[in-house]
C-alpha cells in the first residue's frame, strides 16, 4: 500500500463532493473562509498601477463555466458587479473601474479591493439591525468590505436565522435584503480568494527528501509546483519508501508530508469555492454514433491537483494553471509581464475549451456586452421621443418626423441586433425567460408601430414606437438587475421541459407577439381617450377615426397571435404532459387575452360598443396583458413560475391604478358630455 494512498487520497475522501462530481456551492449563509488566509502581503498595498486595455481585453475573453454554461469572464464579472454594486461601473479615486478591472483588482489585489466602496445596501434598516451606524451616510452610498468586516458575524447570523426559520416566499422585504447582503458579501469574498492557492507557499523544502523532488528554491507557490513533482511525491509517499528510510528519518518525513497535506487540504477547500476555468483534457476517443453525449463539466484549480494525484491526464490544464499562477506572481514584476502571462492563459484556456467546441461564442458574447445594445437603443428611443414631441409642436416641419423615423430605426436595429446575438450565443429562440420577453415585446411593439406609421403617417404610431421603445428598454435594464441578483446571468440554463427549440420558437414567440399587439393597441387607445378628454383636434374626426382603425387592426393582429400561440401552448402541454388545458394561471392569462380581444371584436361588430367603448376595452385589454405577463407569476402557483417577480407587485399595482384611473375619468367625461348633449338637445327643442 502506498503512503500516497494512505495520506493524500484520504485527504480527498474527507470531502465527499470530490467523489461525487462537482457542484457549485449552494447559497450558504456563513463566512466563506478565514479572511486572513491568502492575504499574504506583509505591508498591504494601498494603490496599484492602472490595468492596460489589452490586459483587460485578454482577461475579459477568458472562458469559464458558471450557472451551467460556458461564458466569458467579462460576463461573469459584469453580473457579479451588478449584483454587488448595483451597476457595472465603480469610481475609485480618479479611476472608473469596469467589471473586469474591478474583478481583477478583487482577485489580484484583494488587500486594496477590500477598501472599495462597492457593496450596495438599498435599505439602511438592514445595517442598523446589525448595529451599524448609518447616520453619516447617504442612502445611495456603497459600503466597503473593510467597513462591514467587524459586523460580518452579525450579518451572517441574521441571514442564517432568516433562512433557517422561514420559507423564502414568506420573507419580509428587510429579511430578503439581509440575506441578499450576506450573499453579496460571500460573492465578494469568493473573488478575493480566487487566487489564494497561487499566492500560497507550500512547504516543499522542509526536508531533504522534498528538496530532492522540488529543488532548493525557496517559497514555491501554487498548486502547479505540487503537480510538477507529483510522481516524486508519490514515490516518496509509499509505505515501502518510508520504511526504507532510517528510523529517525521516518517520523520527520511523515510529519513533513502531513504538514504538506494540511496545506493542500486547506487550499483545495478554498479553491473549491473559486471559478471553473478549466475545461477537461481533450477526450481520447470520439463518442460512438448514437451514444448519449453528457455535458462537459469544467473544473477549478483543485480538480487539477486531485486529478494529478489520481493519475488522470492533466497536462494541458496544469500548463494553464501554471501560467495563471505565474500571472499572479507577475503583479510584483511589471504590467508587461502580467499582460504576457494573461495572454498566455487566454491561449491555454481557449485551446482547452476549443477541444470541446465550447469557445465559439465567447468573443461574440464579450462584444455583445461591450456594445451594450439595449442601453444604446434606449438612448435612441428617448431622443426619438423628445424629437417627436417637438414635431407635434411644429407640425409643419418635416425634419423632426424624419429624425424620429431615423432614430427609431436605429433603435430598433440595435435592439434586434442585440436579441439576434443573444439567440446565436445561446443557440435557442429569442424568448425563453421573463427578461427576454421584455426585449422581444419591446421590439415587436416598435416594429408594429412603425409598420402602422408606414400606412397612416399621422405620427401617432411613430411617437408610440419611440415611447414604447424607451419604456421597454428601460424596463429591461431594471429587470436585468433582478436577474443578476437571482440568477447571476440573463442567459440561464433551461429546465428540461423548456429545452425544445421548436415549441419555444412557435408557442412562446406567438404568445409574446400577442402581448405586444395588445399593449400597442392599449397605448394607441390612450391617445384617443386623452385627446377626447382634453378636446385636442376636437373637429378633426378623421384623426380620431384613424386612431380607431389602428387600434382595431392591432387588436386583430394581436388576436391572431394570441389565439394561435395559446392553442400551440396547449398542444405543447399535450405532447409534454398529456393534457391540452390545465387551467394553470399562465394558461388562463393567455386565455384572458384571447377572450378580451374576442369580446372587443364581437362587441364592436354587434354594436354593443362604439368608438369610445372600443378604446376603453383596448385599455382594459392592456391591463389584462400586463396581468397575464407579470401578474400571474405573483400568484406563485402553476407550472409557469419561471420568472422572478419579487418587487414587481408595486409597479404592477401602480400601472393598474393609472389605467383604471384613465378608464374611469374617460367614462365620467363621456357621461358628462352625453348629459350636456341631452340638455342641449332638450333646451333647443323647448326653444323651438
Amino acid at each position: 500500500m502506498k503512503l500516497r494512498i494512505s495520506i493524500l487520497i484520504p485527504l480527498l475522501l474527507l470531502h465527499p463532493a470530490l467523489a461525487c462530481g462537482q457542484t457549485e456551492p449552494d447559497v450558504e449563509i456563513a463566512p466563506a473562509v478565514d479572511l486572513a488566509v491568502g492575504m499574504t502581503s506583509e505591508s498591504p498595498l494601498t494603490e496599484r498601477a492602472p490595468w492596460s486595455s489589452e490586459t483587460l481585453d485578454a482577461i475579459a475573453h477568458w472562458p469559464l463555466q458558471h450557472g451551467g454554461r460556458v461564458k466569458p469572464f467579462d460576463t461573469y464579472a459584469g453580473f457579479t458587479m451588478l449584483k454587488i454594486n448595483g451597476k457595472r461601473i465603480l469610481r475609485v479615486g480618479d479611476e472608473k473601474l469596469g467589471p473586469v478591472a474591478w474583478a481583477l483588482d478583487c482577485m489580484i489585489y484583494p488587500e486594496i479591493a477590500r477598501g472599495y466602496e462597492c457593496i450596495q445596501v438599498t435599505n439602511a434598516q438592514v445595517l442598523t439591525n446589525v448595529g451599524i451606524d448609518v447616520s453619516d451616510r447617504k442612502r445611495s452610498s456603497r459600503w466597503s468590505f473593510e467597513e462591514l468586516l467587524p459586523f460580518l458575524d452579525q450579518i451572517f447570523r441574521s441571514a442564517g436565522q432568516i433562512t433557517e426559520t422561514k420559507e423564502s416566499s414568506n420573507w419580509e422585504l428587510v429579511e430578503r435584503q439581509t440575506v441578499q447582503l450576506a450573499q453579496n458579501i460571500r460573492s465578494l469574498e469568493e473573488l478575493f480568494h480566487v487566487f489564494d492557492s497561487a499566492r500560497h507557499t507550500f512547504p516543499l523544502d522542509t526536508i531533504p527528501e522534498l528538496r530532492a523532488i522540488y529543488g532548493e528554491s525557496q517559497g514555491r507557490t501554487g498548486f502547479s509546483s505540487i503537480i510538477m513533482g507529483v510522481d516524486g511525491l508519490e514515490q516518496l509517499a509509499t509505505r515501502e519508501s518510508i520504511l526504507q528510510l532510517p528510523p529517525e528519518r521516518q517520523t520527520e518525513v511523515v510529519n513533513a508530508l502531513q504538514e504538506l497535506q494540511t496545506h493542500l487540504l486547506q487550499q483545495i477547500q478554498i479553491a473549491r469555492m473559486g471559478i471553473a476555468w478549466f475545461a477537461p483534457e481533450p477526450p481520447e476517443d470520439a463518442p460512438e454514433e448514437g451514444q448519449d453525449v453528457l455535458p462537459v463539466v469544467w473544473g477549478r484549480a483543485d480538480t487539477i491537483v486531485e486529478d494529478a494525484l489520481l493519475k488522470k491526464p492533466v497536462a494541458l490544464r496544469a500548463e494553464a494553471l501554471q501560467q495563471m499562477e505565474a500571472m499572479v506572481a507577475a503583479r510584483e514584476i511589471s504590467r508587461d509581464a502580467f499582460h504576457s502571462q494573461a495572454a498566455m492563459v487566454l491561449d491555454s484556456l481557449t485551446a482547452l475549451a476549443s477541444h470541446h467546441g465550447q469557445y465559439s461564442t465567447i468573443a461574440m458574447e464579450v462584444s455583445f456586452y461591450k456594445m451594450d445594445y439595449f442601453y444604446r437603443a434606449l438612448i435612441c428611443f428617448l431622443l426619438a421621443f423628445v424629437i417627436a414631441c417637438i414635431g407635434w409642436l411644429r407640425p409643419a416641419s418635416i425634419l423632426p418626423t424624419r429624425a424620429t423615423w431615423g432614430l427609431n430605426l436605429l433603435g430598433i436595429t440595435l435592439l434586434v441586433t442585440g436579441v439576434t446575438l443573444r439567440c446565436i450565443i445561446q443557440g435557442r429562440p429569442p424568448v425563453t425567460t421573463l427578461y427576454e420577453t421584455i426585449l422581444f415585446i419591446t421590439g415587436c411593439c416598435v416594429i408594429s408601430a412603425l409598420f402602422i406609421e408606414r400606412y397612416d403617417r399621422r405620427k401617432i404610431a411613430l411617437t408610440m414606437a419611440a415611447l414604447l421603445g424607451s419604456f421597454g428598454c428601460f424596463l429591461s435594464m431594471r429587470y436585468e438587475l433582478k436577474e443578476a441578483v437571482t440568477a447571476g446571468d440573463t442567459m440561464p440554463s433551461l429546465v428540461a421541459v423548456l429545452d425544445t427549440n421548436f415549441w419555444l420558437s412557435t408557442h412562446v414567440t406567438s404568445v409574446t407577439l400577442g402581448y405586444s399587439a395588445g399593449l400597442l393597441a392599449a397605448a394607441i387607445a390612450h391617445v384617443w381617450l386623452i385627446g377626447k378628454l382634453f378636446g385636442i383636434r376636437k373637429n378633426d374626426k378623421d384623426f380620431y377615426r384613424s386612431i380607431t382603425r389602428m387600434v382595431y387592426g392591432t387588436i386583430c393582429f394581436g388576436l391572431f397571435f394570441s389565439v394561435v400561440g395559446t392553442i400551440l401552448g396547449g398542444i405543447w402541454a399535450n405532447y409534454s404532459w398529456g393534457r391540452f388545458w390545465g387551467w394553470d394561471p399562465k394558461e388562463n392569462g393567455a386565455l384572458l387575452i384571447c377572450l378580451a380581444e374576442l369580446i372587443i371584436l364581437h362587441a364592436r361588430m354587434s354594436g354593443l360598443v362604439r368608438e369610445h367603448g372600443l378604446h376603453i376595452l383596448a385599455v382594459i385589454n392592456g391591463m389584462i396583458v400586463a396581468f397575464s405577463w407579470w401578474g400571474v407569476n405573483l400568484l406563485g402557483v402553476g407550472l409557469h413560475s419561471y420568472g422572478f417577480t419579487d418587487g414587481i407587485l408595486r409597479l404592477l399595482m401602480l400601472f393598474f391604478s393609472i389605467e383604471a384611473g384613465v378608464v374611469l375619468i374617460s367614462l365620467i367625461h363621456r357621461g358628462f358630455q352625453k348629459h350636456l348633449y341631452r340638455r342641449g338637445s332638450s333646451g333647443s327643442a323647448a326653444s323651438t
Binding site: Q22, G68, R69, P295, V297, L592, L635
Partner: protein, 396 residues
C-alpha cells in the same frame, strides 16, 4: 307564429351579443378562478369555477364579504358552443367576405369538441417505476377506490368499489359481490384526514377502532395531498362461527386490512384507482442529466421495454417525446426521490393518459389559423388600399 318564435330564439341563440356576454362571463370566471388558485389550489378551483353550472364568488373585504352569483364555466361553455354552432356556422350565410370567419368558427368548434371528448372519455394517472420494475397498470391522480381481494391465491381477482359509492360520509352497505362470503358496510368517509392514536386529549368523532381514530383535516389546496379515510365493517353472509369485524381504512397507510372469514383470508385496501394498460412497461434504465455545475436537470429520460404479448419493443421516453401506443400515451413527467444524493438509485415517473381527442387541438389550431389569416389579411389589404388612395388624394 310558432315559426317566428323559433326564429327569434335561434336569432338570440346565434347572436353576437350573446357571444359577447358569454365570453365576458368566461373572462370573469377565468380571472377570478386564477386569483383563487393562490388560496384554494388548482383542483378545487377547476371544479368550482370551470366545471360547474353555477357558483357564488365572495369578494373578501377586510370588514365584510360581498357575494357575486355567477354562471359556472360548464354552463357558459355549453351556451357559448351553442351560440358558435348556431350563429357562427349554421346561420352564417357564407359569402366571399365572411368565409374566413366561418372557417374560424369551425376550428373553434373542433377545439371545443376536443375538450368535451377529453372531459367525458379520457383517463389519466401516473406510473412510477424503479429500474428493472415492470408494471401493466397505472394509478389515478385523484380517484380513490376500496379494493377487496382474497390473499394467498395465484390468480388475484380484485373487487373494486369506486369512490362515488362511499364518499360524502353516508352509511353505505355494499351489495354482496358474487363469490365473496361477506358484505361490506362503509361509513364515516372523510375526504381528508389523519389516522391518529386516541389519547387523553383527543377523542375522534368517528368510531375509534383498535385505539385509533380518524381526525378530519381541511381539504388541501392540491388535491393529490388529500388522504381520505373511512370506517369499514365486514359482515359475514352465512356463517354462524364468524363475527362481524370493523376497521379503519386510511389513504396514507401502506398495507391493507386483512381478515379471515369462512376459512378464507381477504384483504381490503383504500387506494388510488388502478387502470390496466394493454401492454406492460419495464424500466431498463433511467438517466437524469444536470446542467454542469448546477442542480438544474438538463434532461431526464427513460429507456423502457414495452411488452405486448410476445413482442418486446425497446423505447426511449423523454421530455417532449412520449410513447404513444394502443390509445395510451406515456410521458416522462418526473423522477425521485427528490432528496436523492448523487449516485443514489432513482425512480422514473410517467404520466399516463388515454385521450381519444389527442390530436384534435392541433387540427383545430391549423383550421383557426387559416381562417384568421384569410379574414385579417383581407381586412388589411382593403385598409392599405384605402390608405394608399387617401395618400394620393393628399398628394394631389
Amino acid at each position: 307564429m310558432r315559426g317566428t318564435h323559433a326564429k327569434q330564439v335561434l336569432e338570440f341563440l346565434g347572436s353576437q351579443k350573446l357571444a359577447t356576454v358569454m365570453m365576458t362571463f368566461l373572462l370573469i370566471l377565468t380571472f377570478l378562478g386564477t386569483l383563487e388558485q393562490a388560496e384554494h389550489g388548482l383542483y378545487q378551483v377547476q371544479k368550482m369555477y370551470f366545471e360547474s353550472w353555477g357558483l357564488v364568488h365572495f369578494f373578501d373585504l377586510s370588514f365584510m364579504q360581498i357575494p357575486l352569483p355567477l354562471p359556472g364555466g360548464l354552463l357558459c361553455m355549453i351556451i357559448f358552443t351553442l351560440n358558435l354552432l348556431v350563429g357562427g356556422i349554421l346561420r352564417l350565410q357564407i359569402n366571399k367576405r365572411n368565409y374566413g370567419i366561418f372557417i374560424i368558427h369551425v376550428g373553434i368548434a373542433v377545439m371545443m369538441s376536443a375538450g368535451l371528448v377529453k372531459l367525458v372519455a379520457s383517463e389519466d394517472g401516473f406510473l412510477r417505476l424503479w429500474e428493472s420494475q415492470v408494471s401493466s397498470e397505472y394509478i389515478s391522480h385523484h380517484e380513490w377506490e376500496v379494493a377487496v381481494f382474497e390473499t394467498g391465491q395465484s390468480q388475484v381477482e380484485e373487487h373494486r368499489i369506486a369512490q362515488d359509492r362511499w364518499q360524502a360520509g353516508a352509511r353505505v352497505i355494499i351489495d354482496p359481490t358474487p363469490g365473496l362470503p361477506f358484505e361490506l358496510e362503509i361509513s364515516g368517509a372523510l375526504d381528508n384526514c389523519s389516522a391518529l392514536p386516541i389519547g387523553p386529549n383527543w377523542n375522534p368523532s368517528s368510531p375509534a377502532i383498535g385505539g385509533w381514530g380518524l381526525l378530519e383535516q381541511p381539504r388541501a389546496a392540491e388535491n393529490e395531498q388529500n388522504l381520505p379515510g373511512l370506517v369499514i365493517e365486514m359482515k359475514p353472509k352465512d356463517s354462524s362461527d364468524d363475527r362481524s369485524q370493523k376497521a379503519l381504512l386510511w389513504g396514507g397507510q401502506n398495507y391493507p386490512w386483512t381478515f379471515t372469514v369462512a376459512d378464507r383470508s381477504f384483504a381490503v385496501a383504500l387506494r388510488k384507482v388502478r387502470h390496466s394498460m394493454p401492454f406492460s412497461i419495464r424500466l431498463d434504465n433511467f438517466e437524469k442529466v444536470d446542467h454542469p455545475g448546477i442542480a438544474t436537470a438538463k434532461e431526464y429520460r427513460s429507456d423502457v421495454t414495452q411488452r405486448t404479448g410476445q413482442d418486446d419493443r425497446r423505447v426511449r421516453i423523454e421530455m417532449n417525446d412520449p410513447l404513444r401506443d394502443k390509445g395510451l400515451i406515456l410521458f416522462q413527467s418526473s423522477w425521485g426521490p427528490q432528496n436523492a444524493a448523487p449516485g443514489d438509485e432513482l425512480f422514473s415517473v410517467f404520466s399516463v393518459v388515454r385521450n381519444p381527442s389527442d390530436h384534435w387541438p392541433l387540427y383545430s389550431c391549423i383550421v383557426i389559423a387559416i381562417g384568421m389569416l384569410i379574414t385579417f389579411v383581407k381586412k388589411f389589404l382593403s385598409y392599405s388600399k384605402r390608405q394608399a388612395e387617401k395618400m394620393k388624394e393628399v398628394a394631389r
